[in-house]
């Protein structure tokens, strides 16, 4: 395997990891207004992802950094081309990030409800837009011979990409619901399980439609196999969830997300950003990549440090493995006296 193929694989892994992890914390953010009946519920909901959401988001930064290092042309064309979409994602991620930190700092109900809205929109918008973006990467965008994007914001809003957006939005919402059911007790757990039932049909139909469209228009044998695995895993996740097997439901839903992302990357390969206008505009793993030396350096770094990162992130999940319930939220609304803990 050539090093640029290895880096294509690694970037696919980083994006899969990002969607697998931030997927559920987006989902939890989206469900926040719907599953919780009072502030205590909302605090439990947020606290299920509290210790991990920031670490999950670093997968995005690493995917971005790795793309910059390994495929500078891809990074340059993609980020300048998808300008306004990325701007929206950035604004959403900024607002969402501070919302988690600022929300608890005042007991005032209006203050908290404003930040709850920020968490909702800050989660829903990227969940939708990442799907739109990835569908466009697979579908291709107009690029000139210098690999510069020649479309505009609305070029990105084609039917295939919009279906991609609905797929990620519903899939991440489902992922969040399954996660919440796994991490909570009592009423919250029941309402998370009810949310699974409501979101699942949408997610299954959207994902099946989107993967089918991908296979028909852009797919190959290998991506078809992986897409089928994704669809089966998704159905399995829903089935397990209905039987109350929350651990299995989450595992299979995670597998569905990873397989769906893998199917997209397999369909894309060996291109990284196809051009729909000029053939010479198409970016591939070869013409977009860095030099062999840079890729070799970065491969060493990745091979040595990725296992370390995976180990301590896994340890975090282990430390916070317990389900949360109303009993875990200490005393009266804590910010009225003093925000709880150090935060």
């Amino acid at each position: 395997m050539h090093l640029h193929d290895f880096w294509f694989l690694l970037i696919a892994v980083l994006w899969s990891g990002y969607f697998l992890l931030e997927g559920f914390d987006f989902g939890v953010g989206i469900l926040l207004p719907f599953v919780s009946r009072d502030d205590v519920d909302r605090r439990i909901t947020i606290n299920t992802i509290g210790p991990v959401w920031d670490g999950n988001e670093v997968w995005l930064l690493t995917a971005g950094g790795a793309t910059f290092a390994a495929f500078p042309e891809w990074y340059a064309s993609l980020f300048s081309g998808f300008y306004l979409a990325l701007l929206l994602i950035l604004v959403a991620l900024i607002v969402r990030g501070v919302a988690f930190e600022f929300r608890s700092k005042r007991p005032d109900a209006r203050w908290r409800s404003a930040w709850d809205k920020a968490i909702f929109w800050g989660s829903a918008l990227p969940a939708l837009l990442w799907g739109v973006a990835f569908a466009n990467i697979v579908r291709g965008v107009p690029l000139n011979a210098a690999h510069d994007y020649t479309g505009n914001f609305f070029t990105l809003l084609n039917p295939y990409a919009l279906l991609g957006g609905i797929t990620t939005l519903s899939l991440f919402t489902l992922h969040g619901a399954v996660f919440l059911a796994l991490k909570t007790t009592g009423d919250l757990r029941s309402s998370a399980n009810r949310a699974v039932k409501r979101v699942a049909p949408v997610a299954v139909v959207a994902a099946a439609g989107f993967l089918l469209w991908t296979e028909i228009s852009y797919g190959k044998a290998a991506s078809a196999v992986v897409a089928t695995i994704a669809a089966l895993a998704l159905l399995g996740a829903v089935a397990f969830s209905l039987r109350g097997r929350e651990g299995w439901a989450f595992t299979l839903n995670a597998a569905a997300i990873v397989a769906a992302v893998a199917a997209l990357f397999i369909a894309l390969y060996p291109n990284v950003l196809p051009s729909t206008s000029v053939a010479a505009g198409t970016l591939t793993v070869t013409n977009a990549s860095s030099t062999g030396y840079t890729l070799a350096v970065m491969s060493w770094v990745a091979v040595i440090f990725t296992p370390v990162v995976l180990a301590y992130q896994a340890w975090t999940y282990w430390v916070f493995r317990k389900r949360l319930g109303r009993g875990d939220i200490p005393g009266p609304a804590p910010a009225s006296i003093e925000p709880a803990a150090v935060g």
């Binding site: 910059f68 390994a70 300048s80 900024i94 600022f102 510069d148 860095s290 840079t294 430390v319």
Partner: protein
Amino acid sequence: MNPLDLARWQFGITTVYHFLFVPLTIGLSLLVAVMQTAWYRTGKPQYLRMTKFWGKLFLINFAMGVVTGIVQEFQFGMNWSDYSRFVGDVFGAPLAMEALLAFFLESTFLGLWIFGWDKLPKRVHLLTLWCAAIGSTISAYFILAANSFMQHPVGYTIDAAKHRAELTSIWAVLGNSTTLVTFPHTIFASLLTGGVFVIAISAWHLRNKRNVDIFRPSLRLALVATVLAGVGLGVSGDIEAKIMTEQQPMKMAAAEALYHTSKPASFSLFTVGSLNGHSEVFSIRVPRVLSFMATGSLNGKVEGIDNLQQQYEQQYGPGDYRPLIAVTYWSFRFMIGFGLLAALIALIGLWLVRRGQLPTGRRFYTIALWSLPLPFLANSLGWIFTEMGRQPWLVFGRLKTEAGISPSVTGGEVLTSMIVFTALYGTLAVIDVWLMAHFAKAGPAAEVAAGDPEPVFAY
């Protein structure tokens, strides 16, 4: 305004804003880690209360640093795609390493620290904060290595056909002399920022003799840190100036608005009148100081702007190779001045708290409180100086700033994003300052006994 100016303004606004939070994150993380270590070692509840009080302010600030940092990583590709294409093979590597080695460490272990009070053994819990602090510090190293490549490109060749710089030695890039000196300078600046922050807020409480058991040790720790940081800044800044003179002589000339090569060269404390080299009304000059700053010798030769301009025209072709002199001249002075002033105030404070004493009267406390903006101004001006002083280059001697922007992005798009970020950042600044002030004034929790069950939740 054209897309180039807009993209530059946006980079300036978002980066200066981001760097208001970053040094405070690094500085405070180290100070809070020291406080928690003191608690771990002695078991005194006052150190736990200190840790929690400053930790809370640290976390509010940290959130702002994190979210504004995401923009930075995207912005190169969004507004500066031709720059990204030109440098990606070299510049991308430290950026990717920063994410993998530093950001994961910082964010994961901070999550463990915030939520792990009752879940982890004390020693492990302390270790999580140190890991997060180390993560923040390492992140500074990698981003400075990337920036240093723009100031002083090393370890690369130019592939003319592909029109890009290609990495030939990662060790040269990571061991760039510019990085080796800007890294300690930045870390000392961060420590100074964290130190002054703690000094100012402690002074506010001590002025009214509130929570003396918390704020006296806080003050003392911060005074020591700030004085040490001041010394470190002086030493590293001195070496940096000499390296800069060697690598980017135009920047040094622009820092002094020195038009004609001089031997020896004097340093002007300030100048009245225009800085164009021939309409100076009045200035206070210290003889030979610029020679010493730039070369280490009181009689050293410092090259002037006009001479360098001629030299660069021969070397790089026709063009204007002068940065905006008024910006470099004043930012350089005020960076040094504000930093020095902060360190001096801390030195006086250190004298006043000797042998268990506390400053009497209100004067010191008032001055200490008002010193709060100094490090933030110095940090911002330092970056404005070093980035503006590199102009017209984006990568010194290799790529001009005008050649780095995104060809596919319109002025309207850049303007849109600039307005959005400015409005969003402005709003968040108001909320952040309000929250910080609120919790700074509220003071530490009344009682946090060691045996108390620790609250679990931060959110």
